[in-house]
Symmetry: C2
């Protein structure tokens, strides 16, 4: 019997990762294409098709049957199957599931935004298997979120629910790429913590290795490395980031009262440097009826393959 | 054949209203008991029982069969059937559904918080009949909310979801009864608009009829009456209240992306005095992908009977 596999696809601004995923969430084989090298979406979809066909022919793979394709992408609409107005992708509007469906007419093709895909992966493969009410916060360049209530992902009437990165954390605060001000992701994200470091470098007189990097050079990994080395500015930047995250998580709880909030992505690797102040401040700002009930913890999914496995989970969830 | 009726109960700090409700949401007969006159919850439950029995014997009523009891109450937990730590009720903890179940062992008894009951009523009898994703905001002494997503009310893991009145509207803002600061309901509620009027009376030199009332005397109805009479302070208070509501509604949309936000309760009677600035500011602060999609409108439920009908809707929804 041929082994059933799902093609999981993780579309990012730089790279698009494509893998074949089994029912346990394991990525059996994968490859990579450079998103930005395809200014025409038709060519991009054609390249995805070619990658999947190549992966299926991988001699190291058991004989496989492709049973579906699941995709996580920024600004992707589960209801319509389209990517719409994604700031970091080269195309304004891509009817992705119908375009890929031309190549794969006999199997389901589904797309959702990348944070929702991670939430579904957490539900299928991760630590949310028995949870009906939880939230996933993804900390990447921006801040994404997937909200699950009553055991179902919340898509909203238009397919765009769950933009917690764009709730107002600080009224009239930092300018956001979305054109508004004070959005949570301008503080809590890889780019947000860099901005916080630069604010601290301006305000403080403390010595710091981070004074040697330009804004464009500095990465959140550099800040993490400096913090591990007890750099005072880096540690303070993580503390502030966690504090603002925690304060906003108190608001998140007031909406859907999740039992667990999972934190996923690069910044979450700093673990308690960010999670400890986040938990402390969430508790501080929680309404009494929610106190000491909500767990905040790192996602159980490995960062490396979670995007691919998350996309695939969109299909596998129908087989659970 | 006997007419099927549900007993709908609306528990408030001052009064508890009890009615018999048919499947269309019409309150056929109702009565009233003074909540605060029952310091012992056992006596309160006994009084509810007596009221229901009396209503059923009302000679003006058709011969009726009581098929269930549905209750809306502050701080009520749908999962446990209990009222827990309601600030404006005389009892700390009441296992209401099991206590009433002793009197009515053969029919379902359900309770939820008052704003959730209104949301279900809107779904069963009101303008949300065909909506899968909507939010109800109730403006009374405080601000309550009921959130429906994927066609289901969101209760959260602990039964306490939907406390939009306690999201932080203004960091380090007004003190709230909950012990925290800047909660939305300290600005947007009957009590909130009174506080705003007093702030304006302090800041402004404008003449106003509202300068003749003490804080304890002034009601939101007085402010509405003054606004209808073009009182500058009253009009400005409504504008500010709507503005803060609108800004927070933009955050509400970022969570569950509802197609409609219904505004219910006394303050909503001021209609466009509060709804126009609310809509304008919501649109101003919405993320682009949500703009011009979300309706903000008054609830279709009459204020008078919505509490009773809302409680009853908890039972009727299982018969739709």
């Amino acid at each position: 019997m041929r082994k059933k596999v799902v093609a999981g696809i993780d579309i990012g601004g730089m790279n698009t990762r494509i893998g074949l995923v089994d029912q346990s969430g394991e990525v059996l084989t994968d490859s990579n294409i450079a998103t930005s090298q395809y200014p025409a979406s038709e060519e991009f979809v054609s390249a995805i098709y070619n990658s999947i066909e190549l992966l299926l022919k991988n001699p190291d793979m058991p004989l496989s049957e492709l049973i579906g394709i699941g995709i996580g992408a920024p600004c992707a609409n589960y209801h319509t199957g389209c990517i719409e107005n994604a700031a970091n992708l080269p195309w304004k509007y891509v009817p992705l599931t119908s375009m890929l469906g031309v190549y794969f007419p006999d199997i389901p093709v589904k797309v959702t935004n990348d944070a929702n895909a991670v939430a579904i992966a957490e539900m299928i493969y991760g630590d949310a298997k028995n949870l009906k009410d939880f939230v996933v916060i993804t900390l990447g360049t921006g801040l994404g979120s997937g909200i699950v209530a009553n055991g179902e992902l919340i898509y909203g009437h238009d397919g765009f629910a769950g933009e917690v990165g764009h709730i107002t954390a600080v009224p009239d605060g930092r300018h956001c790429n979305c054109g508004r001000r004070g959005c949570l992701e301008t503080y809590v994200s890889a780019r947000g913590i860099i901005r916080t470091v630069f604010e601290l470098l301006a305000v403080s007189t403390k010595d710091s290795v981070l004074r040697n990097s330009s804004f464009n050079e500095l990465t959140s990994k550099d800040i993490h490395a400096a913090a591990l080395n007890s750099d005072a500015i880096a540690l303070e930047a993580f503390r502030i980031t966690g504090e603002i995250l925690g304060r906003s998580l108190a608001d998140v709880v007031s909406f859907t009262s999740p039992s667990v909030i999972f934190i996923f992505g690069g910044l979450a690797e700093a673990k308690d440097m960010i999670l400890a102040p986040a938990k402390e401040n969430m508790e501080k700002y929680l309404l009494d009826c929610y106190k000491n009930k909500v767990q905040v913890k790192p996602s159980a999914l490995g960062n490396k393959d979670a995007g691919i496995a998350g996309g695939a989970a969109l299909i596998w969830r129908d087989f659970v």
